[in-house]
Symmetry: C2
């Protein structure tokens, strides 16, 4: 198979974890006789420094010429005081919009060898296995107006939570499709007792649900969902929710496993050009020190192989290698609990050798 992958390392540890992941992808290409070509692109702070914008046109072009995208992470204190349009995160938001990456998928699963790293008690987290499906291109993130105004003579500010019904429908369809291949349960999270958008969301969820008679649908209020994620996370199979709720709940959920450095994500688009990235951020405090855990990005690459290229065997090979290395006790600093920690590169080497 011959494929092109766009690589957007971004800022901070983004570069380090993408570098290591490329090595794994090269090894996979060799073992399984594929050809992967890599197109590098600038995004985030790095792009601001070099091109004066967090998302240069060339980067969008490089993505569009590729079959899938791997992103590292964006952001850092260096750009924190910049005006909004010159912040690294703007690059990420603009990319989501430009490529219509509307469905953000975050699997939350526990690794048996890491059960003890969770702040939650083992009996609460063992066996947790669910996916959060977050709407990624609508809601409060992109609604207009989003501006300062004067109302009744008073300084005020307004943001807008806007959704087309069709945008709500397609993300719910994604969730039901995913649930069909899993344990067939969708938890749709909203705030229908307060928001009109949530009431529409609930209606659409019911409509879509009727087309998937083998999947059960449950509605849950977002405040309750924030509780249930801690109280009994095993109850979930697929959680689907709008952009801002998804941002909050998925970060909360990432704490369940206690191993943020292990969590991967996919952002799927309508066009078939999907983006894969670790859940963690750019971690400026440890950047450049070889301390970062590359596993989240490596597992994101496995998602890419499966989802974008249909390479199930190759994806499994990576996942198994990661499992084996963890079971052998190899740990990066974030996971080390007494054990001697290996560097980002060493972790990559170990996984490559285990392939």
């Amino acid at each position: 198979m011959k494929k092109t992958i766009a690589l957007l390392p971004g800022d901070g540890i983004g570069k380090e974890v993408v570098d290591v992941t490329v090595e794994i992808l090269k090894a996979i290409a060799e073992h399984f006789n594929h050809q992967f070509q890599f197109n590098y692109g600038l995004i985030g702070g790095d792009a601001i420094d070099q091109k004066g914008t967090p998302l240069p046109e060339e980067t969008i072009e490089a993505c569009k010429k590729s079959d899938a995208i791997i992103l590292g992470a964006v952001g850092g204190p260096k750009w924190d005081k910049n005006p909004v349009e010159l912040r690294p995160e703007r690059g990420l938001l603009a990319l989501r919009k430009a490529l219509d990456l509307y469905a953000n998928l975050r699997p939350i699963t526990t690794f048996d060898s890491l059960l003890d790293s969770s702040p939650l008690k083992k009996e609460y987290v063992s066996g947790v296995d669910f996916v959060i499906v977050r709407e990624l291109t609508g809601g409060l993130y992109f609604g207009k107006p989003s501006e300062r105004i004067v109302r009744d003579g008073e300084d005020s500010v307004v943001d807008t939570l806007f959704y087309k019904r069709s945008e709500i429908e397609r993300i719910l369809v994604s969730a039901f499709e995913i649930a069909q291949k899993r344990r067939k349960h969708v938890t749709s999270v909203d705030k229908a007792n307060v928001l009109e958008s949530s009431r529409v969301w609930r209606e659409v969820a019911e409509e879509v649900s009727a087309r998937y008679p083998d999947v059960t649908l449950e509605h849950m209020l977002v405040d309750n969902a924030a509780m249930q994620l801690i109280r009994s996370p095993r109850q979930f199979d697929v959680i689907v929710t709008e952009n801002m709720f998804g941002d909050i709940l998925s970060d909360e959920a990432s704490m369940i496993t206690g191993s943020l450095g292990m969590l991967s994500s996919a952002s799927l688009s309508s066009s078939g050009l999907h983006l894969y990235e670790p859940v963690h951020g750019s971690a400026p405090d440890i950047a450049g020190k070889g301390l970062a855990n590359p596993v989240a990005t490596i597992l994101s690459a496995a998602m890419l192989l499966r989802q974008s290229f249909g390479l199930e065997e190759e994806a499994k090979a990576i996942e198994k290698a990661v499992d084996n290395v963890l079971n052998s006790g190899t740990r990066t600093a974030d996971l080390a609990n007494g054990e001697k920690a290996v560097s980002t590169k060493q972790m990559g080497e170990e996984i490559k050798n285990a392939l």
Copy 2:
């Protein structure tokens, strides 16, 4: 002291827990030689059934004639299919607005005797002691438009996150005032990398902070806050945030202690007429069975005595009685872990006897 307290038991277990709390208040009045008069009012589903509206005018009047308000809980499956304006929660939202109850305070503290009830490991939760200050009368909850629209020929829906700068300022002032009497650290939670309202929020927080040089201010993004609450809850002293973020984070935080039945809250108004209520809901599944834990409401009454009436000694007496009863091993069903559970009334009796 002669005072009038409005009692709005509401639905489900609301009635049971308010009944027991009234007994405690009567005992306090007797011991300490006060006169408390009680004004009952309808709210929620009960009010819909009896008056055709979730917040009858008489209830607002009864509140306005009182010096403080105790609310039980509202809601239940019976009214879930009602049109929005005839839902129990509407009564609560309308009351908040009518009385300008803009500052919702939720203390999150662990009880040593209940440390094991948390889903989180003991070493994460022991010593946790913070307050969430949630803005309660603005933001997405009340912004207009909140309606279905057609845009570009497509069915769409819009909700509005609106704040006057003065509304943001007064809630931040509340937070700093509270922090001054505590460990002097405010964590202001927003989503400034996405929302204009959050950027104004951050500016106002800086301005207000300058007036409280002895209090430190930290900004935290809401997604990160959702993680930090689980990862290291002891870092917080006072968390202040807008309405919807506060709804989600405070419910998440209530899980830290693992004892939702213990958590009280106060909603403070500009006029000085404040409302006190348990954090838990109406729990229709256990309503009328004597299973409810009345402690959250009893502790809310203690907050009332302290905050609204300045009766510190009386508030302490209640809090100490609750502590003693818990230390003696008395547990309602929600907290029982092997021990035989006592009923709502028995729990109330024990606390009364311990006064």
